[in-house]
């Protein structure tokens, strides 16, 4: 969940948020002695222009795209893997926590720095190297912007499949950290399926490469753990991405419905046929209105819901699949089905979808965005519950969904200056998460856990499950210096096990 543009979270100071789990402090209570100052050493390493300690810089880097603010001591902008490793070694010697970040578009607080920490900004590691057109891979820096990668590869007929709505600014490193998704992950899978290897700096400051161009590297799949670990297992300095052939044909359709149930049923019916379109995205009426007022994408503002369906592939296949989707839409009383005539029309449809969150600013000063996922067959039930929760609390709810994946993004707009409103919204959002979990779903489909959902992890995992995850984290980072306080709640490592 995410509270944006507001001071809704002002009551939670950085130090409260970052009460470190006792079992992660080790035996040394002075481990996070924030008075130790590594700045001189860092300036020697990087030069003054790439080391920032000014209060304004510390405020800028205190947050990601959520509102919860941390309090870093120093921000560094390394240019190379070796510099990152040297920074990690300096931090390690000084016992200072480290938080890696890219563009800071994360919504779950994963890049919010612990008090007194060193923030390592990886945006300058932005080279695209070693593009292999036969193996369909490339080594890229974590600072490469998602959309820039696919644009750079366009003339080779390749693209990087994960396409989060933030793709114009979010970085590949950030995508790796959160196991990012996006509309086109329906058919292609989320980021984990598109990362073949990483070069990373370990908590000790060593540089290792795990995974690689050759498949099935013997030993444990550390690559698979790094993806989605939100910078808590190592600092990724280069990424080997898997690239997908650009499809010879794309059909993008807009299906317009009187109500949300017809749209949701269409999604269920499409998935039940076994057809997995490239994307199946849905917006409800309040969201359509917000997007249309902002974007003028030609969406019907009187519609109850719209579905964007896209099929890609060989033209002899797409024509059949598009016809099937149209037939299912008609069966569910779609009042209109439009097919994008060309790339411009297609781009306009997608622009509307991908700018959904940006359009909110026009309708309310604040919004609270959730990200939960349920089994696809429970989608309609949970949707009803989410609407009922909003209605119960008199909240303005709008929805944009990765419907084909069962991934909800309910969004509540509100005015945080109204007394008690923020608490009410957070309470409702928690109830929505509970509804998703009760239907067999989980906390996050693509935004990650970070700080925002850390203390909800017990809803989906037993103490033993969380202990196993804590064991993994400790194996990578025994001292607990990489992005402390994220993902796992306090006390996740069961102490009797550790003492055994």
């Amino acid at each position: 969940m995410h509270v944006a543009n507001s001071c809704a979270d002002a009551g939670r100071s950085g130090s409260e948020v970052f009460t470190l789990p006792h079992d992660r402090r080790g035996d040394d209570p002075g481990r996070y002695d924030v008075t130790m100052d590594p700045t001189v050493e860092l300036i020697d390493l990087l030069g003054a222009s790439r080391v920032h300690t000014h209060p304004v810089d510390r405020i800028i880097y205190a947050k990601d795209s959520g509102v919860t603010a941390g309090d870093p001591a120093v921000i560094v902008l390394p240019d190379t893997t070796e510099e990152v490793a040297a920074v990690v070694r300096i931090a390690s010697r000084a016992g200072i926590p480290i938080v890696a970040r890219g563009a800071g578009t994360g919504l779950a607080g994963g890049a919010v720095p612990a008090p007194g920490s060193i923030v390592i900004v990886l945006t300058r590691l932005n080279a695209i190297e070693e593009v292999d057109e036969i193996g369909r891979t490339a080594w890229v820096g974590p600072g490469v912007v998602n959309l820039d990668l696919s644009r750079a590869l366009a003339d080779r007929g390749l693209h990087f499949a994960p396409d989060p709505a933030s793709q114009q600014s979010s970085t590949i490193g950030g995508n790796v950290g959160t196991n990012a998704g996006g509309p086109h992950c329906l058919a292609e899978g989320t980021t984990a399926a598109h990362i073949l290897g990483v070069e990373m700096v370990t908590a000790d400051g060593d540089v290792v490469i795990v995974g690689g161009e050759a498949p099935d590297e013997p030993g444990y799949d550390l690559r698979g753990l790094i993806v989605g670990s939100e910078g808590t297992l190592g600092i990724v300095t280069r990424v080997l991405v898997r690239l997908i052939q650009n499809p010879p044909d794309v059909v993008t359709m807009l299906l317009v419905f009187e109500n949300i149930h017809q749209a949701a049923q269409t999604v269920s019916d499409i998935v039940a046929t076994g057809l997995v379109p490239a994307a199946l995205e849905m917006m409800d009426q309040p969201m359509i209105v917000a997007v249309e007022n902002f974007m003028h994408a030609g969406l019907p503002t009187d519609a109850g819901a719209v579905l964007i369906a896209e099929v890609v592939g060989h033209p002899a296949g797409t024509v059949v699949e598009a016809a099937l989707i149209e037939e299912i839409g008609r069966r569910n009383d779609a009042r209109e089905i439009r097919t994008a005539a060309d790339d411009d029309e297609r781009a306009l449809l997608w622009k509307g979808r991908k700018n959904a969150f940006g359009s909110i600013a026009q309708s309310a000063p604040d919004y609270y965005l959730s990200d939960t996922v349920v089994p696809r067959t429970r989608f309609v039930d949970v949707l009803d519950e989410i609407y009922a929760i909003a209605e119960r609390d008199g909240l303005r709810l709008m929805n944009v969904f990765h419907a084909g994946d069962g991934n909800f993004h309910p969004l509540v707009t509100f005015d945080a200056s109204e007394p008690g409103m923020s608490e009410k919204v957070i309470n409702a959002a928690h109830d929505m998460v509970h509804a998703a979990v009760a239907a067999g779903g989980t906390l996050s489909g693509e935004h990650g856990i970070g700080l925002e959902k850390r203390d909800l992890m017990h809803l989906v995992f037993t103490p033993e499950d969380l202990d196993a995850q804590a064991r993994i984290r400790d194996a990578f980072d025994p001292e607990g210096s990489l992005n402390p306080g994220k993902i796992l709640p306090a006390g996740a490592r069961l102490t009797e096990e550790r003492d055994a």
């Binding site: 369909r136 698979g224 076994g274 067959t377 993994i472 194996a475 990578f476």
Partner: protein, 374 residues
């Protein structure tokens, strides 16, 4: 073996696998994850090395393990929850791949598991991390493992992952366990993402495998063997027909996969996909009985009746020089004394060791089976 406590013997007797041959070892078949966890607790306290057995089709992979206790998954061998409309299935680790795929085929679905692995179980496939030929189109098996339930080496039943098709909720325990060869514990159940089977398929002989890979739009597989190269297509009838025409060839309907390699020495050469052609040329000079190259993937599986130690060493050096590996799947002892089936310790060995120790503190789960003595 040291003398076991009476309570331990009673537990083993109660869970004894009636179907297993008695070869002097305890062979037990827990029927639930809790029973498996109890077994692991007892084994850890008695210091018994434990091996896990599914179909036994991968039992020669890795460093040899001398086990005191064999845990089979034969009592956890059924479909637990199949949601065809969700394209997900939860299955007991002991179910065979063929049985699962046959059931899924009734609704025209597939878990995209290895196509030619008679007798192999789901648990075995996940533990070895092996993928089928269709990985070129659908990605490796590990990308479809949504959730695992397992009994750890420290005797706890845990769940990793979630039964939804996308999740960014905590660490990818299910990805760690896939390919861990039973060194962290016993896999009890697996949740898999499913795909629809294509309406139409074809096997198309081609003269140039690399060319076919460049021409075809997302074929299921491009394989080359001693009998030539084939491109495997799937999709609508019109799509398969058009793609076949574009490959300037005549295909036959259906997917005819090569017979599995059954030679006494079996190697898996793993190189970057762009090095497959050169690897094939190298392997041909070694005069193997059988070989299957997966173009676009980077795996060449090779079968020999016999293989000189030096030639094997050259092949391994070649793969390593390409940042790959040559893994001995069967018959390391036939290649030469002390041949390491893996070749070298994995990267980040310290982290790898700490993972092993934290999931298997008593070092009882297939001890030493992985590279680097993990």
């Amino acid at each position: 073996m040291t003398t076991l406590r009476t309570s331990t013997l009673r537990l083993f007797e109660r869970l004894r696998d009636e179907r297993a041959d008695d070869d002097g070892r305890f062979v037990v078949a827990p029927a639930s994850l809790d029973e498996a966890a109890a077994l692991m607790t007892v084994a850890a306290s008695e210091g018994l090395a434990v091996a896990f057995l599914g179909g036994g089709t991968h039992s020669n992979i890795g460093n040899p393990v001398t086990a005191d206790l064999v845990v089979t998954t034969s009592n956890m061998a059924s479909i637990i929850d199949w949601q065809p409309d969700d394209l997900t299935v939860v299955v007991g680790a002991g179910m065979t791949v063929d049985d699962l795929e046959a059931t899924l085929a009734e609704r025209r679905q597939t878990a995209v598991l290895p196509e030619t692995a008679p007798g192999a179980t789901i648990g075995g496939v996940i533990a070895t991390g092996v993928s089928g030929y269709r990985r070129l189109r659908y990605g490796p098996t590990r990308d479809r493992v949504l959730r695992v339930e397992m009994a750890t080496g420290y005797g706890k039943a845990i769940t990793g992952g979630s039964l939804v098709v996308k999740s960014s909720t905590g660490y990818g325990v299910q990805r760690l366990v896939t390919g861990s060869l039973g060194s962290l514990g016993l896999i009890g159940t697996v949740a898999l993402k499913l795909w629809s089977r294509p309406i139409s398929t074809a096997t198309v002989p081609v003269t140039d495998a690399a060319g076919a890979l460049a021409t075809a739009y997302r074929p299921l597989a491009v394989l080359e063997t001693e009998d030539g190269a084939r491109c495997y297509l799937g999709g609508t009838e019109e799509e398969v027909a058009s793609q076949t025409a574009e490959l300037a060839s005549d295909g036959s309907a259906g997917l005819s996969w090569p017979e599995p390699i059954g030679e006494p020495i079996r190697l898996s050469v793993r190189v970057p996909p762009h090095d497959v052609g050169e690897t094939v040329a190298l392997i041909r000079e070694m005069d193997p009985t059988r070989w299957i190259a997966q173009h676009g993937v980077g795996i060449v599986t090779v079968g020999f009746e016999r293989l000189e130690t030096d030639l094997f060493g050259d092949l391994r050096s070649w793969a390593v020089s390409r940042r790959g590996s040559t893994v001995v799947l069967d018959g390391a002892e036939l290649i030469g004394d002390g041949v390491d089936p893996w070749g070298h310790a994995p990267a980040a060995i310290e982290i790898q060791r700490r993972i092993k120790v934290s999931f298997d503190p008593a070092s009882i789960c297939n001890p030493g089976i992985l590279p680097g003595g993990l």
